[in-house]
Symmetry: C2
Subunit: 200 residues, 2 copies
C-alpha cells in the first residue's frame, strides 16, 4: 500500500521537477508517508526514479504490443501508431514529461530499462518490427526509405505534439486548447501526412 502511494506521488513529482529538481521530502508528503519509508522501500532517490521510469515505459509498451501483429498493413500502422501514441500521451501527461527529460539526459536509464525488458519478454522484439517494415518495402506498400527515418518520423510527430505545442502556438500567436478536438485533429493530421508521404 505505502509502496504504491510512494510510486504514484513520485511519478507526479519527477514529471513536474525532473530527477534533480524532485524533492524526496515533497514526495513523502504527497504520499502521506514518513520520508524514511521511501528509503526503506527504494533505498535511494535515483532508485525510486528508475522504478517510476520502468512503470512509465512499460505502460506505453503494452499499448504498442497490442497492434503489432505479423499481418499488420503499412496503412494501418500509419493510422494506429499516432492514435495509440496521442491517446496514451493525452491520458498520461506525466509520461511525456518524464520521458522527455530522460531522453534529454541522454536516456541512460531508459536504455537500461529497455534492455532488461527485452530480455524478459521476447514478444516485442526489434527484429519483429524490422521484418514488418522490410515486408512492406518488398510488397511495394511503402516508398523506399530507411527504416530508421521512418520510425523517426512516426515517433517525432506523435511525441512532439505535446512538447512542441508552445512553439507552434508562439509562431502563429494562437492558443490551442488541449481537448478532444485537438487530439482528434492531431491524430488525423499525422496519420494523413504519414500515409501521403510514405505509402506508395
Amino acid at each position: 500500500m505505502s509502496k504504491e502511494k510512494i510510486l504514484t506521488a513520485a511519478k507526479e513529482e519527477f514529471a513536474e521537477f525532473g530527477l534533480s529538481g524532485a524533492r524526496v521530502s515533497r514526495i513523502a508528503e504527497k504520499a502521506g508517508i514518513n520520508k524514511a519509508m521511501l528509503f526503506y522501500y527504494f533505498s535511494s532517490k535515483e532508485n525510486l526514479y528508475k522504478s517510476v521510469l520502468r512503470q512509465t515505459i512499460l505502460g506505453l509498451m503494452s499499448q504498442i504490443k497490442k497492434i503489432l501483429t505479423p499481418d499488420l498493413k503499412a496503412s494501418e500502422f500509419f493510422e494506429k501508431m499516432p492514435e495509440i501514441y496521442i491517446n496514451y500521451f493525452s491520458k498520461n501527461k506525466d509520461f511525456i514529461k518524464i520521458m522527455g527529460r530522460e531522453l534529454i539526459n541522454d536516456g541512460k536509464h531508459y536504455k537500461a530499462i529497455i534492455r532488461e525488458t527485452l530480455e524478459e519478454d521476447g514478444r516485442l522484439t526489434p527484429s519483429g518490427i524490422k521484418e514488418l517494415i522490410n515486408k512492406w518495402i518488398k510488397n511495394g506498400e511503402i516508398k523506399e526509405e530507411s527504416q530508421f527515418n521512418m520510425m523517426m518520423n512516426i515517433v517525432s510527430l506523435s511525441l512532439f505534439s505535446f512538447i512542441g505545442k508552445p512553439i507552434a502556438e508562439n509562431i502563429l500567436d494562437i492558443n490551442i486548447k488541449e481537448d478532444e478536438i485537438f487530439y482528434k485533429n492531431r491524430i488525423e493530421s499525422i496519420s494523413n501526412l504519414l500515409k501521403r508521404g510514405m505509402l506508395k
Copy 2:
C-alpha cells in the same frame, strides 16, 4: 569579458543538468571566475538562466528570419525549414537540451522571452507567417490543413530528430552515428515527407 565567460559556461551547464540540476559553483569553475562574480553580474541563478535562454532563442530566430521573405514558396518552405533547423541544432547541441527542458517545464520563461522579443523587433511577426500560409492555401500550393497542424508537423519533425533518436534506435535495435550523413538523410526525409504530404 567575465560576463561572456560566465554565459558560455552557464549554457553548457544548463544544457547538461537543467535549471535545478545546474550548480552555480560548477559554472564559476568552468568560467574560471570567482562564484561571487556570477551573482555580481546576474544577481541570481534563475536570472542567469533567463539570460542564457534569451541568447539561445535569439540565435535560432535570426536563422529563421533569413528565409522568411514575402515571396517564399511553400515548396521552398518545406525544404528550407528542416534544413535550417537540423543544421542549427547539429551545430548547437546545447539549444535542443535547453529548449527541450524549458518546454517540458511549461515554457514559462520561453514565452516571456518571445513576448519581449516580438515587441522589440517587428520583423518576424506571427501575422507575417500566417499571411504566407494563407497565401499558399489560396494559391492552391498546399493541401488545406490548419496552419497550426502544419507548423506542428514541421517543428516536430525537425526538433525531435535529436531528442527522439534514442527511441527509434531502441525500437529497431540499431545505432546511428550523428554525422554529416545522418543530418543530410534526416533533412531529406523530413523535406520529402512534408512535400509529399502537404503540397498539392
